[in-house]
């Protein structure tokens, strides 16, 4: 299971790690009970500061995607264990849809793009 980090990505490194892990969970590549590598290992492999990775893991923990168990490290939580309100969940989707509509795409094109992205996400996770 691999994450890709690009040199021209505007997001901070911790955000790239967080988003990448979330995408893998969403795609089914990272399943409940799987253990993530230690903060030290990730920091060493990437050549970034320990704190950067720790922030990413803390964010995943705060959002309920991972559980940090003493001695076992960061373990992927159950997908249903995340109580997120629907309104909160749809907020980024609404923002993205607004941008797509404003950019002049038709409904059909937007639905097609969403389907394409969803398929890509599932392919990355290895569920297809």
């Amino acid at each position: 299971m691999f994450l890709t980090l690009h040199e021209n990505d505007k997001r901070p490194i911790y955000q790239q790690i967080t988003d990448g892990i979330k995408a893998l969970i969403a795609g089914g590549g990272l399943r409940e009970g799987m253990t993530l590598p230690s903060v030290r290992q990730v920091a060493g492999d990437l050549g970034v500061n320990l704190n950067t990775v720790a922030v990413a893991y803390r964010q995943l923990q705060d959002e309920g995607f991972v559980t940090v168990r003493h001695g076992a490290g960061a373990v992927i939580s159950s997908r249903s264990a995340r109580p997120v309100e629907q309104a909160e969940l749809y907020k980024p989707l609404r923002t993205a849809l607004t941008q797509l509509v404003l950019s002049g795409l038709t409904d059909r094109e937007i639905v097609g793009a969403v389907r394409e992205e969803l398929a890509l996400l599932q392919m990355k996770g290895g569920t297809r």
């Binding site: 299971m1 691999f2 994450l3 890709t4 980090l5 690009h6 040199e7 490194i13 790690i17 990448g20 892990i21 893998l24 990272l30 253990t35 993530l36 590598p37 230690s38 030290r40 290992q41 990730v42 060493g44 492999d45 990437l46 050549g47 970034v48 490290g73």
Partner: protein, 328 residues
């Protein structure tokens, strides 16, 4: 059965080293610059057509360097055989290592300085698989090694006389036990993974890690066997009030030590062959840098370099100490 003579052991060592190093020259060293394919020279990315242009000169320089080193090695061996000064064998073997390793590292550093000053920046992949020490290092085996070393020291402290040369067991202990932190560093270190053919690069790195650990494991046991033999010999000598070791024990220890050494060589070369075939067209570590990490020389991490410096420095200190002591 008589005890093995020192000369016999030296001749046997030469007979072992000559085919091994000749094989290494033919199979590994001679074409090392091309081990990653024609797109690279000693792991440094080179432009297309390099080997039809300036690459010829670089290749000729490399071959001249290797040929000179092996010529010195062969001439020194010839001198030992002709003059029958077999006691010079350790100097010949150790001297070659001391000459060969820094020269080759120097050549690689020069190559990197001249051809790979600004390695390209590329996106990096991160493996989300945990590397636990226990998956790579057998702790019971390491504990056994420490216990054997401890037992040997217990025997030596009890039975070695006042005139015993403590430098030899210290050297053997340093070499064997000093590899344990090195193994931990090897497991923890990794080179950046490129985003193309990531799985293959990951498998290559893992195979490389396991190859080093296997070879180092056998290397450590080689010295532990010698240390144990020395300690047992001392203890038995004391028990029999004799001035020489038990002949059978000397043969046994030598046999085991050479068997372990042979196993180490076999593991190393088999692993190297497998790695060479795996790495044939993979992007070598150190030929590119990530957005967050600069290209490390030969893919070595900082902890690895620190450990290597301390461990090798210790070995050099043990070699130099008696020389300095005798001189001043």
């Amino acid at each position: 059965m008589s005890a093995p003579s020192v000369v016999g052991v030296f001749i046997f060592t030469i007979c072992l080293l000559v085919p091994v190093l000749t094989y290494a020259l033919v199979k590994y060293f001679w074409n090392k610059p091309l081990q990653n394919g024609p797109g690279y020279f000693l792991g440094v990315e080179v432009p297309a057509g390099f080997y039809e242009g300036p690459g010829r000169g670089w290749m000729a320089g490399y071959h001249a360097t290797v040929a000179s080193l092996y010529t010195v090695w062969a001439v020194a061996l010839g001198a030992i055989v002709i003059t029958r000064r077999w006691e010079m064998t350790p100097m010949w073997a150790g001297g070659f290592a001391l000459l060969f390793v820094p020269t080759m590292l120097g050549f690689q550093a020069w190559t990197r300085h001249k051809l790979g000053v600004t390695p390209p920046v590329r996106p990096v992949a991160l493996a989300l698989e945990s590397r636990r020490l226990g998956d790579y290092i057998s702790w019971p085996l390491e504990a056994l090694m420490v216990a054997v070393v401890g037992f040997s020291w217990w025997l030596l402290l009890r039975h070695a006389g006042a005139h015993f040369d403590w430098l030899t067991p210290l050297q053997l202990t340093w070499v064997a036990l000093g590899l344990i932190p090195g193994k931990i560093v090897v497991v923890r270190s990794s080179s950046p993974l490129p985003t193309e053919r990531t799985e293959e690069h990951y498998r290559y790195q893992d195979a490389e890690r396991r190859n080093w650990l296997r070879a180092w494991g056998a290397f450590g046991w080689f010295f532990v066997v010698i240390l144990l033999g020395l300690a047992l010999g001392m203890a038995l000598m004391r028990a029999r009030s004799a001035s020489r070791m038990v002949p059978g024990l000397e043969w046994l220890i030598l046999g085991i030590a050479f068997a372990v050494w042979g196993y180490q060589v076999l593991v190393y070369y088999r692993g190297s062959r497998q790695l060479a075939s795996m790495a044939r067209d993979l992007r070598p570590a150190g030929s590119w840098r990530t957005p967050f990490r600069r290209a490390s020389w030969m893919g070595m991490s900082r902890p690895y370099l620190i450990w290597g410096t301390i461990w090798c420095g210790g070995i050099f200190a043990f070699i130099l100490y008696p020389l300095c002591k005798a001189r001043f």
